[in-house]
Subunit: 250 residues, 2 copies
């Protein structure tokens, strides 16, 4: 049985999760072991024994661990081909798919992530005492992640937030332009390019409504709705709870 | 005939170039069209008609253009399988290969690139008059690249250079640790993981001798020598000239 260690269906965790849902049956062919970010479970020793980088997601397949969300998606296609194909057969189309998944990993996910941390993870970081926070930082293996947690606690510099919002603007414009003339992102089919971009873009019509809306990005909105209408996407959201990080409830 | 548009054999240009040399015969099966960085040829209109992002490398295959160095490498394996296999067959090993190529693109290449710009591109940028420089910036399609050129001309902030040197330290330690117990980076064979990392690491024993040397990183040095000993690597260096950017000669 394939086993995915991940947060709920959002961001990098959603990439392999949706790939699994599209290809396989939950409980019969794969299971999802949810890691609780509010308990910093991804930085716990038991999880770092699985992924020493302390990052989700990770896939366990017959005793072997595959990490890095986009790599896991391609691995599932390589190791477990099914009748559901999520990569174009034509090498040129497949290359276009990879240009899109690479762009998510190198550009799109980072700007959205920083704003997400500013709006959500910040409250987790600020709820800790100084002692608890410093003790927690020691559990985080990646130096750049420690810096990000410190930023979340102290507040991201405004010029950084402004720059990330600029990049979000570039990103949604790029997606909308491409989707104006294409039903899907690559190869004329629903592929890992759509999965990896949807993992970041879904919900932006709520959280970034001033940039992602029917007036400014109609094609992106159409595509987000189109992915959300897929039966396996609906099953994923129905069966795997989402986290709701944010300001403490009144 | 496959046609690669690229700079000389270094950094991102070297990734598909070495892949081509390992798999095919120069002049008979592929050609290399060298773009002259000292003439800003990659920002010229004729080249931006090929790659609108104004970045090298780009591959032309039967009238179609594939961009992004790592994507091109995988494309060559997908579209033109030959007896020379540069990807492991086992899906798990292939995933490990992709973790390494992804790491180059997201971490290793950037820190080395910034120092390379500081040491080389800076002199090109500073040789221009203010007017020439501003006119040139207008030809660069990617906003982040315009910022990088401005940094190169005005000088990269010292804290940025320090941070990149720290990341270079992390990178060469990571490579050396892994190569201590592995002949090649992934799957027990020379693969795209080695090609993409070698494209960045080769020459560091000269340019970063305080960090990459027989005492501190013996396994990395052994691997760099091992790749350099490959006949097709030697052929590549013999046949395709390298650029020598740097301070003006006395």
């Amino acid at each position: 049985m394939l086993k995915l260690y991940s947060f709920g269906p959002g961001a990098n965790s959603m990439k392999p999760m949706l790939t699994l849902f599209e290809k396989f049956e939950l409980d019969r062919e794969f299971e999802v072991h949810r890691i609780d970010p509010s308990k910093f479970e991804h930085h716990s020793n038991w999880y770092k024994a699985i992924n020493p980088r302390g990052q989700v997601p990770a896939l366990e397949d017959n005793g072997r661990i595959v990490t890095e969300s986009t790599v896991i998606c391609e691995y599932l296609e390589d190791a477990h081909p099914t009748s559901v194909k999520l990569r174009p057969d034509d090498p040129y189309d497949r290359a276009q798919m990879r240009v899109w998944t690479k762009w998510v990993d190198e550009y799109f996910c980072w700007c959205v992530s920083t704003i997400g941390w500013h709006r959500g993870v910040r409250y987790m970081a600020q709820a800790l005492s100084d002692e608890e926070f410093e003790a927690h930082l020691k559990n985080i293996p990646i130096p750049e992640q420690r810096v990000k947690w410190r930023h979340a606690r102290e507040g991201f510099p405004q010029d950084m937030l402004d720059e990330e919002m600029r990049k979000i603007g570039v990103s949604v414009r790029k997606l909308d332009d491409h989707l104006a003339n294409n039903e899907w992102l690559a190869g004329g089919m629903f592929s890992l390019a759509d999965i990896c971009n949807f993992a970041i873009a879904n919900g932006m019509e709520l959280g970034f409504a001033e940039q992602v809306n029917k007036h400014d990005t109609p094609h992106l909105i159409r595509w987000i709705e189109q992915v959300n209408a897929r039966p396996r996407v609906q099953e994923m959201f129905a069966r795997i709870p989402r986290e709701h990080l944010g300001p403490p409830k009144e």
